[in-house]
Amino acid sequence: MPAAIRLRSVTKSYSKGGQTLRVLDELDLDMDAATFYALMGPSGSGKTTLLNLVGGLDQADEGVVQVGDEDLAAMQSSELAEWRSEHVGFVFQGFNLLPVLSARENVELPLLLAPLSRRQRRQQAERALELVGLADRMNHKPRELSGGQEQRVAIARAIATDPQVILADEPTGDLDRDTADAVLEMLRRLNRELHKTILMVTHDPQAATYADKTIHLDKGKLGRIEENATPTGGS
């Protein structure tokens, strides 16, 4: 079942050079399930921090971060790890593939945490790679792939466990326009066809046009939420 995301009075600070920097400041935010969100804002506005909190990679100092029925703030690090493996898929700007593993092995990485047989794992990884159009590159190492192909492997890894939420941090930041459009098109399709809740951090206004809604952050607070009546792609 698609997961809705709810943040209440979320505060997150970091210490840097002896100074405490409040990155998110009592942020309240509601996101609908099965919706594609773009998250925009100037550098330092707290976009990646928000993504990390929603993905359970980091924990809020104060407030409630609820994804589906789970309150992430109440979880221990091991519980968060288990939750991540089941409920969330990540797509990063730098692709973040393990260079010593092949495309299929990278996609299998989160599946190893699920109670699957070797055969099921392999089938599921191959299906995910087929979905992103890389069935013929399964045994290639990341260095043997182009940037766009690497990002598609990363997307395959993100969807391999069939999570409700996909979090993407500048997924097209390292890609040329055409490749970026192809990746965004893929995310759009995952939202439309598989009903994934997608939260994508981006600086690129054109990338944001693929989303249903755009959330603007400013200095750790919610600026505004724009609705995109006619999102690009996914047709």
């Binding site: 690090s77 990063f92 593993l101």
Partner: protein, 388 residues
């Protein structure tokens, strides 16, 4: 409980091959020293243990810890030979007991310098007692009552003037080498001749021990006890195996101490090398640790993965160390035993020595990997992803 796939760690070792090779060689060198010392110890222990027989009794002076310290008069020898009923008699009714004289003499080595060599004066009955355990391999046996000697095969290539046909000066007497013999254990590093002639030449009027073949059910303690109140003699009695075990224990302990000490010092170095290598590996792969954590791997899985990688490095080092030592299998070397005489023995790279060495290497790997693996496991996903 899911663990990080093994191929990730194995392939990572290949990717940073130069660092892997250096660490493996550092551990390998340590293990080679340990395995070498263990192989020496095994060779030394086997040398004496294989010779020791429980049906051979040794009579020495009470209080003597080795035959080199022992002294029994000829009269006492005769008493023991005739009076002890447990001593087996041969077909001619003679007791199978032989009074032997033992002394370490300085002789010149082929490769320069001098060393102590065991000279043993024996009676003809000695050969009957040993039976097939002592075999003439070259030339012939010495003739009793003459200045002839036979040389253990372990000395032929090590000690000068000890080849068949050579003349060997002992004190002021010249003896002729007429044969070579092989025997079990340390005998092959001795020179044998007629006990009376050698006693005269070395000016030793007493004998060092009586070697006797005793019945299988003989109680040696009971034999010794019979002489507790005897004013003529109070011998120390033990079987050959126990005697040799007592002779090797101090040197075995020394081998173990030296080997253990060297391995410990080098092991500390290897642990630092391994730790350094793993810290460098983790530093270079911080981002990958972040990826694994983001995907959902728990801290303990990261700990196990990197500890396993370090263990693998240690095991590889162990195998390399053992491979370095294997060519020494059978190679002969010499040392001075507790009677201060030269004995030759071979390296024995036994499975036990190799297994001990590899387990030690695994231990090095684990000790060297604990801190880096712990550090890797404690990183938060965002810390790890940011640092990469």
């Amino acid at each position: 409980m899911a663990i990080v796939p093994l191929q990730y760690n194995v392939r990572s070792l290949f990717v940073r091959s130069s660092s892997t090779i250096l660490t493996v060689l550092a551990v390998g060198a340590t293990i080679a020293v340990l395995a070498g010392m263990l192989s020496l110890q095994q060779g030394f222990a086997v040398l004496f243990q294989e010779r020791g027989r429980t049906d051979l009794a040794l009579f020495m002076r009470q209080g003597a810890t080795s035959e080199g310290e022992s002294g029994i008069t000829l009269e006492q020898c005769n008493i023991l030979k005739k009076e002890v009923p447990e001593v087996i008699r041969d077909d001619g009714g003679r007791p199978m007991a032989s009074a032997e004289m033992f002394l370490a003499v300085r002789l010149r080595k082929f490769d320069g310098g001098e060393t102590n060599v065991a000279i043993r004066g024996v009676e003809p009955m000695t050969f009957a007692i040993h039976g097939d355990d002592v075999v003439i391999t070259e030339g012939e046996n010495f003739t009793p009552g003459t200045d002839e000697l036979i040389v253990g095969v372990g000395l032929l290539e090590r000690i000068a003037n000890c080849r068949v046909g050579d003349n060997l000066q002992i004190n002021t007497s010249t003896f002729r080498i007429v044969g070579a013999f092989s025997g079990k254990g340390g005998y092959r590093s001795e020179i044998w001749g007629d006990v009376d002639r050698l006693s005269d030449a070395l000016e030793r009027p007493v004998r060092s021990r009586i070697l006797a073949r005793v019945s299988p059910d003989a109680d040696l303690d009971a034999i010794a006890a019979r002489y507790d109140d005897d004013l003529r003699l109070q011998p120390k009695v033990m079987n050959e195996r126990d005697y040799l075990a007592s002779q090797t224990s101090s040197l075995t302990t020394r081998f173990m101490f030296v080997g253990g000490f060297l391995a410990l010092i080098m092991g500390i170095g290897a642990v630092f090398t391994g730790t350094n290598s793993m810290l460098a590996a983790i530093g270079a792969r911080t981002h990958e640790i972040g990826i694994l954590k983001a995907v959902g791997y728990k801290p303990w899985a990261i700990f196990v993965a990197f500890l396993g990688e370090s263990l693998l490095l240690g095991l590889l080092g162990g195998v390399v160390g053992c491979l370095l030592v294997l060519p020494l299998q059978g190679a002969e070397t010499g040392t001075v035993n507790s009677t201060f005489s030269e004995v030759t023995f071979a390296f024995r790279t036994t499975p036990a020595a190799m297994l001990t060495s590899i387990l030690f290497a695994a231990g090095l790997g684990i000790v060297g990997g604990v801190v880096p693996a712990w550090r890797a496991s404690r990183m938060t996903p965002t810390q790890a992803l940011r640092r990469g």
